[in-house]
Amino acid sequence: MHTRHPISENLDRLIACRACDLLLDRVIPPPGKVARCPRCHHVLLSNKRNVIDNTLAAAISTAILMVAAVLFPFIALEEAGLQRDASVMDAIGAFASGWSAPLTIAVAAFIVVIPVTRAVALIYALLPLRFGKAPANGAANSFRLAMALKPWSMAEIFIVGVAVALVKVTDLAAVSLGPSFWAFSALILVVVFENSTLCEWTIWRLLDPKKR
């Protein structure tokens, strides 16, 4: 890939690097490969197979796992005959008392509300495309929301926090893990899968009604 002087009338044949603004000929890489900016090495676009199918699969798995993660018990702690089951809602509610109540809202948002919102937004934006229909009203905004929320979706970070917390309480009490814990753990795999499959540039092109 190399740069050439402007300006082609057809802007569609050019692409600018998002990280350094270098103007380049748009070259679609071979299947399964990514195209990088020659100057700063930022990923320009990737040519992954079945982007829509795979992204939808990730979003639907997230939604299902989240339902399981919220409904089932997360962890049980036993000490001197006292048993305590903690659901994820308990973990979220831990901050609810006193002046640190705002943290409750933040933690609930990071580990449940935002991941679920992202999943729903992705499904709404992409499901019609999957069945060869025109994108739904507001599909562009919906996809934009999903991408903007990405750094704030922290289910995978939460599970690392749980692991650290468990080490801290092992001498205090016996701990057993519930189905919700495993649902959260599975979410890590879904996040990794989504990161490897989602090419924003490709999806934006597919969402454009004029260029399909």
């Binding site: 603004d21 103007l23 700063c40 943290l103 933690v107 922290m154 801290k168």
Partner: protein, 214 residues
């Protein structure tokens, strides 16, 4: 405008174009909205430096009480002890859980402080030039953006401990004020990194050409 490199390069801005930050569609410079996704168009993120510095300052300000106040309030048999971030990590070391202690130190000290330093360094480098190559600075930026959110681990640890350890008189753990300060610090620093426009690094090369070092 040419940059020393294997071939002549031109940016979208120099070509009179603006690329949509959202979907990557190109439009003539000066267009207000993207024709494809309707996002508003900016060749460079508006007021990027002010925003980066403002969020960074807020992040640093919140990080100070996060270290001074207790993160955890632990009461065992009616006796309350307060644990700071550093205290908690030292306890873990003494307990022999060094792997977890390293995670806690990384999430609560190394990553936040490294983020403050890297963002400030990137901003100063743009204004005054830097000894690091643009490429290296780009890597630092991408790494900072990637790693920053992992600091939130600490807040989740506090949340889980407080949920689990509520055994009445025997033992109970509650969040301390530092947990809130720390969470705010992480959020502000993430916003600072998000406000940063990496294109500023490359633009600044015109004013501050890379210093050749052998």
């Amino acid at each position: 405008m040419a940059l020393a490199g294997p071939q002549e390069t031109i940016t979208a801005r120099e070509a009179g174009l603006v690329s949509c930050d959202n979907c990557g569609t190109l439009a003539p410079l000066g267009s207000r909205r993207c024709a494809r996704c309707r996002a508003s168009l900016h060749s460079r993120r508006p007021n990027a430096s002010q925003r980066v510095w403002a969020w960074l300052l807020a992040g640093i300000v919140c990080y100070i009480p996060a270290n001074l106040y207790p993160m955890l309030l632990t009461s065992t048999f009616g006796k309350v002890s307060e644990g700071t971030i550093i205290g908690g990590a030292i306890e873990l070391f003494e307990y022999g859980a060094w792997f977890v202690a390293v995670i806690v130190i990384l999430a609560s000290v190394v990553i936040p402080v490294a983020k403050f330093v890297v963002i400030a360094m990137l901003m100063l480098g743009i204004r005054h030039g830097s000894r690091l190559s643009a490429h290296r600075r780009m890597q630092l930026y991408e790494f900072t953006e990637f790693i920053g959110r992992w600091s939130m681990v600490d807040v989740f640890v506090v949340a889980i401990l407080s949920a689990l350890v509520q055994l009445g008189f025997i033992a109970s753990i509650n969040p301390g004020p530092a947990a809130v300060c720390f969470a705010l610090s992480v959020v502000f620093t993430m916003l600072s990194a998000q406000s940063f426009d990496p294109r500023m690094i490359w633009d600044s090369l015109e004013e501050h050409p890379p210093r050749v070092r052998r």
